[in-house]
Amino acid sequence: MTSDAFQSPVFRGYLFVLAGLLAVAGALILLLRYVLRKNVDHAWKAYRGWLIMIPLVFLALYFGRVTTIVFFTLVSIGAFTEFARATGLYRDWGMTIVVLLGIIAVGIVSIVPDPETKVHGWYGLLMALPVYAVAAIMMIPIIRDRAKGQLQLIALAVVGFLYIGWMFGHLAYLANASNAYGYLLYLLFAVPLNDVCAFTFGRIFGKRKFRPNISPNKTWAGAIGAFAVSMVFPWLVRFSFPEFGTPELILAGLIVGIGGQLGDLTISIIKRDIGIKDMGAVIEGHGGVLDRVDSLIYVAPLFFHMARYFHGL
């Protein structure tokens, strides 16, 4: 990341596009509300959420690598806390604290330099962290000399750390990439776009349910429509990654188009199993933090390793 984000054409490009989109969407909602007299309460609430989240993300990125990593680590902590509160893991403060420390460790490891190569971000330790985190989680019941019900707590803590802390932590680590703006802004734009397209196509053309036992509102039409948009999208924002050839662009599309919906459904499984609708109520119109980043959690590490395989970070 550069010292002045505005010098990056990628940063400027996304800032321009998103400011434009927000303005157009705002105008559209106003048009619907005051000219066509439609009820736009729901859209307005979601829009207000975006109006806060998008500037927040740009601010974090603008201030540089460390702020970006700290920002996403905080998001990760918020998302895990919601998961813990919804599943009941939160009642066990020992487990919760160990997982939170693990998530903070993911953040620290992403900030510090590799002791051997002196490059920002200690990749080797990031990949090794699950070993230490799982080992620490396993120790808690042993220290307490307790067995009853512990497997559930262990499993919830491991899923919480691996999925919400570590896999999502890959997104923060992308701030160390030489093309940090390109990768981060692409993901942060393409993944929510995929969600919005699935919703919109589903609303317009949706008939057959996609996975009715997991998420009754998702339809085949929504899934296919979103997939199609996500496959085309990398070409539309090709300025984000000039180093990508056709195979990488196809893979980026596949990862977002398929991974985004899988991530969404993954969190839906958790919610459906517990029997709740949203993971929280922090972001009005969007539910909890975890409801907002569900697709990103699945997509970020897949994209990370794809980009790293082809071009290094």
């Binding site: 599943t87 009642r91 517990i274 029997g275 109520a281």
Partner: protein
């Protein structure tokens, strides 16, 4: 194989502000950590800026819930009383605070819930309900309820009459009531002033009283309120 047993936190679907307004508040790791840090900080200020002195700590009951009653002259009162309790007790000590004053805007709401762990007391519309909430609080072992029975801060430094609500709350129960006198808070930070001045604070804790034989009726409640006021006044040493 049996189904797993999930038990979401009761307030998990509320916004952070709704959660703070909720009472009883559910344990929250971040909130507890913030409260602990804030209280260490507040205690440091009370010691350095106000040279707080706490007399009679040995009168505080150890293994049971109790009510702490004190005269009320300043916003310093609740933090000073919290500072006379052991630090590990701050999450189980609840100063009753006027819902119409402390729970209406965000900064005071944040301060009174995060730092002071205040219980919203509805002194205007439905004080009976608030007294019921107090009663439930005291049913949990080792809870501390901090009450200012005058109902408001004194305007002139004198101790006003105690309202009978405290009498209804504890008449006929074995709950110990610990009278406390706070000296110096009125000079340090009276009503209407913006910033506390560096005056000395003295907290005098008296012996616990019990009113197990009293009946929860008007006369007894008034008598209890008077007895408690006398107990607080008798703690004035200089």
């Amino acid at each position: 194989m049996d189904d797993w047993h999930y038990e979401p936190t009761p307030d998990f679907d509320k916004t952070p502000i709704e959660r703070l307004k909720d009472f009883p508040r559910h344990p929250h790791l971040v909130l507890y950590t913030a409260r602990l840090i804030a209280n260490v900080f507040v205690r440091a200020i009370l010691h350095v800026w106000h040279r707080i002195e706490i007399v009679g700590r040995e009168h505080l009951p150890h293994d049971e819930s109790f009510v702490l009653v004190a005269n009320h002259s300043s916003h310093l009162d609740a933090p000073a009383l919290l500072a006379s309790l052991p630090l590990k007790q701050i999450h189980r000590a609840f100063p009753a605070a006027a819902a119409d004053y402390f729970f209406t805007n965000l900064p005071t709401l944040a301060f009174s819930t995060i730092v002071v762990n205040a219980m919203p007391f509805d002194r205007k519309e439905n004080p009976k309900h608030s007294i019921d909430v107090c009663r439930q609080l005291l049913e949990t072992p080792r809870h501390v309820l901090i009450l200012f029975p005058e109902g408001t801060r004194t305007a002139d430094g004198a101790i006003g009459p105690f309202k009978p609500g405290i009498g209804f709350l504890i008449a006929g129960t074995p709950i110990p009531i610990v009278p406390c006198h706070i000296h110096g808070a009125f000079k340090a930070w009276p009503k209407g002033k913006w910033i506390p001045r560096p005056r000395k604070l003295t907290i005098t804790i008296g012996e616990p009283l019990r009113f197990a034989e009293a009946r929860p009726a008007k006369e007894d409640a008034l008598a209890i309120a008077d007895a408690l006021r006398n107990a607080v006044v008798n703690l004035i040493t200089r």
